[in-house]
């Protein structure tokens, strides 16, 4: 079966961006690959609706699939992940410190609420405007701005201080 050239062009042009966005949303390469594949499949199935603006369409699909995945996971686990946070005062200039700092930022990103993580990824990784982010997430521009503000505040807290003990009395 022949593939439309414009769809093929879109796949080649956008797959890496979608994969990387998916990775930042899920924190997991395997999940990101699954998200990418399902997203592209859906775009293919709905090409008629997507072909005028396939990029934003695919981003919206990716976000929705990511939310579905998070919902499925939350049904099975009540999770209270508490990652490590670094000490900015310890920063040194060698490469391993940069990598360690990056690891701390990514760990902090993973602790954000899903909506907050989405807006940070879309705005600062995918470089979408507030309006484009609102369209991709199905919210208003005001909501995007408030999510962004809260996300930055939360990130600042996570990166400034070590986390409180991630322990809770066992409910067994």
């Amino acid at each position: 079966m022949r593939v439309r050239p414009e769809f093929e062009d879109f796949v080649h042009a956008s797959s890496a961006r979608l994969l990387r966005t998916g990775y930042l949303l899920t924190g997991n390469r395997l999940d990101a690959e699954d998200l990418l594949q399902t997203t592209l499949m859906r775009v293919a199935r709905h090409w008629g609706a997507a072909e005028t603006a396939p990029g934003p369409y695919a981003t919206r699909v990716l976000i929705n699939l990511s939310r579905d995945r998070a919902r499925m996971a939350s049904r099975r686990l009540s999770e209270a992940p508490l990652d490590e946070a670094g000490d900015p005062a310890m920063a040194e200039d060698d490469l391993s410190d940069q990598v360690a700092r990056r690891a701390l930022i990514m760990a902090a990103l993973a602790q954000l609420a899903d909506r907050q993580r989405e807006v940070l990824v879309l705005r600062y990784y995918a470089d979408l405007s507030v309006e484009e982010t609102a369209a991709a997430t199905g919210t208003s521009a005001g909501t995007v701005k408030s999510h962004t503000s809260r996300a930055l505040t939360h990130m600042r807290e996570l990166l400034a201080e070590p986390d409180p003990m991630e322990v809770s009395p066992d409910e067994r």
Binding site: L40, A44, R45, M72, A73, R76, E84, D163
Partner: protein, 463 residues
């Protein structure tokens, strides 16, 4: 930090994190096999169904194949054959090594010395995160792979339950820093779901500042497919309780926290895959009871007096203790004081870094004897009566390595050096520091000379 600076840092981190991600060609191929369409018609129904079924089959295949799908063709060619079994289960080993992943050379030495002959595969070390150590600052966490199977450091622990120990390689977590040339190395970590890495204080320290308790940081290695981990600990401290910890999981490392300096033992670990599916669970019943017994033994040990003769003839024992029981792993402490025929006082242990060799060890005095618990360059413990220590015969000889053996021992005050008679008949002087000496001597060296507590030179056989 201003918003702009924070945003730039987040942006840079996100880009650096994903820059190396490439789209698997199989995904593109599968997607392009699905023809796009303009609108839904009956003519499209069957192909659409076929695509849907293909997608479901693909996803199911992906799920069932697990990590095998993620192994890029060619990635294994860069991995030593002996390590491929391990690499097939730890995706972080299959990504390219960056400069930041390279374990510092001194940390390689520490890791190798603590793994008793295991050789570190330098190209397989990976920087996998950082842990915050309270006032000490931050330590980097590396995943390190050995070429040989290290001797288990905690022989009382059960067989590794999940990863196959016959892979020929073992992975270790190394914590580097925050002090220069200090690291904590955990023992064999193939028991990734078990308790080896679970409780604080189980790592072997290579530094004197109680760094090995890691300020409550707990790490464990998990294989591909594990996305969530649950740990349940029994706290046997002042307020006995259960603690549940959900560590973060990233780069095949689960990283969480328990209260610093707490006495916790893992009673259960559960691994979850995607969608909350339980992959495996590990229970270690009886560990809490064992821990309580050990706690009572430690409390009793702390009341033991130190033999006055030891204090009189060993300057090292006249100083304040340089560490406490957290410097040794619970298994090491248990083997020293359960039972405790020599009346060892674990609270009075002295940590010694013998720089000429180099060697690192604890000296544990007691009412009727003294013990050595040595960490580097070999790992083990030995104990003797007070008379042995006063007589100068308190020493251990390590296994034969490349025609040499390591000798570590205690020398009473008055010994600035210990003489080792070499095969050619001449003597080698080994310096004594803090009543401790350590040297690598030829296998053929038969005699060693030092002064006993009475000041008389004694000859000791090294065979």
């Amino acid at each position: 930090m201003s918003d702009e600076v924070l945003i730039e840092e987040i942006r840079t981190a996100m880009r650096a994190e994903v820059d190396a991600l490439e789209v698997p060609s199989a995904v593109v191929t599968r997607v392009l096999a699905a023809p796009p369409r303009s609108r839904l018609t009956l003519g499209w129904l069957m192909p659409a169904l076929a695509v849907g079924v293909a997608a479901i089959v693909a996803v199911l295949a992906v799920t069932s194949l697990g990590h095998q799908r993620a192994v890029p063709h060619g990635a294994f060619s860069r991995i030593p054959v002996a390590a491929r079994g391990l690499a097939s289960q730890l995706g972080v080993l299959r990504r390219a090594q960056t400069q930041a992943d390279v374990l510092p050379r001194w940390a390689v030495r520490e890791t190798e010395s603590l793994s008793q002959g295991g050789r570190v595969i330098g190209r397989l070390s990976r920087l996998v995160g950082a842990v915050h150590l309270g006032r000490y600052g931050r330590a980097r966490v590396y995943l390190v792979v050995h070429t040989a199977q290290p001797t288990p450091l905690h022989p009382n622990h059960p067989e590794p339950p999940f990863l196959n120990p016959r892979l020929g390689d073992q992975a270790t977590i190394a914590y580097v820093g925050p002090f220069r040339e200090e690291a904590a190395i955990n023992g064999p970590t193939v028991a990734a779901g078990g308790e080896l890495l679970a409780a604080t204080g189980h790592g072997l320290t290579a530094g004197p500042r109680q760094f090995n308790d890691l300020w409550g940081a707990v790490t464990s290695i998990v294989p591909d497919g594990v996305v969530r981990v649950k740990w349940v600990f029994d706290d046997v401290g002042a307020k006995p309780r259960h603690l549940t910890v959900w560590p973060s999981v990233r780069d095949n490392i689960a990283l969480g926290r328990v209260p610093p300096r707490s006495q916790v033992y893992m009673s259960r670990a559960v691994w979850f895959g995607a969608n909350g599916r339980e992959i495996a669970s590990f229970a270690t019943p009886g560990r809490a009871a064992q821990a309580r017994r050990l706690r009572r033994a430690v409390a009793a040990s702390a009341k033991e007096p130190i033999a006055s003769a030891l204090v009189r003839h060993f300057a090292l024992l006249r100083g304040s203790p340089t560490n406490d029981a957290s410097g040794l792993s619970p298994a090491q402490v248990a083997s020293l004081i359960e039972p405790n025929p020599l009346g060892l006082n674990i609270d009075q242990e002295q940590y010694v870094v013998y720089s000429p060799a180099p060697a690192k060890l604890f000296v544990i005095p007691g009412a009727q004897g003294v013990a050595l618990s040595y960490l580097s360059p070999m790992v083990g413990q030995a104990a003797g009566a007070t008379s042995d220590a006063l007589g100068g015969s308190m020493f251990v000889v390590g296994p034969r390595i490349s025609g040499h053996r390591m000798v570590i021992g205690l020398a009473p005050d008055g010994n600035r050096t210990v003489r080792v008679r070499l095969p050619g008949g001449h003597d080698r002087l080994v310096p004594v520091v803090d009543n401790v000496y350590a040297a690598s001597v030829p296998i053929a060296a038969r005699w060693m000379f030092l002064k006993n507590a009475a000041g008389r030179t004694v000859r000791l056989s090294l065979r």
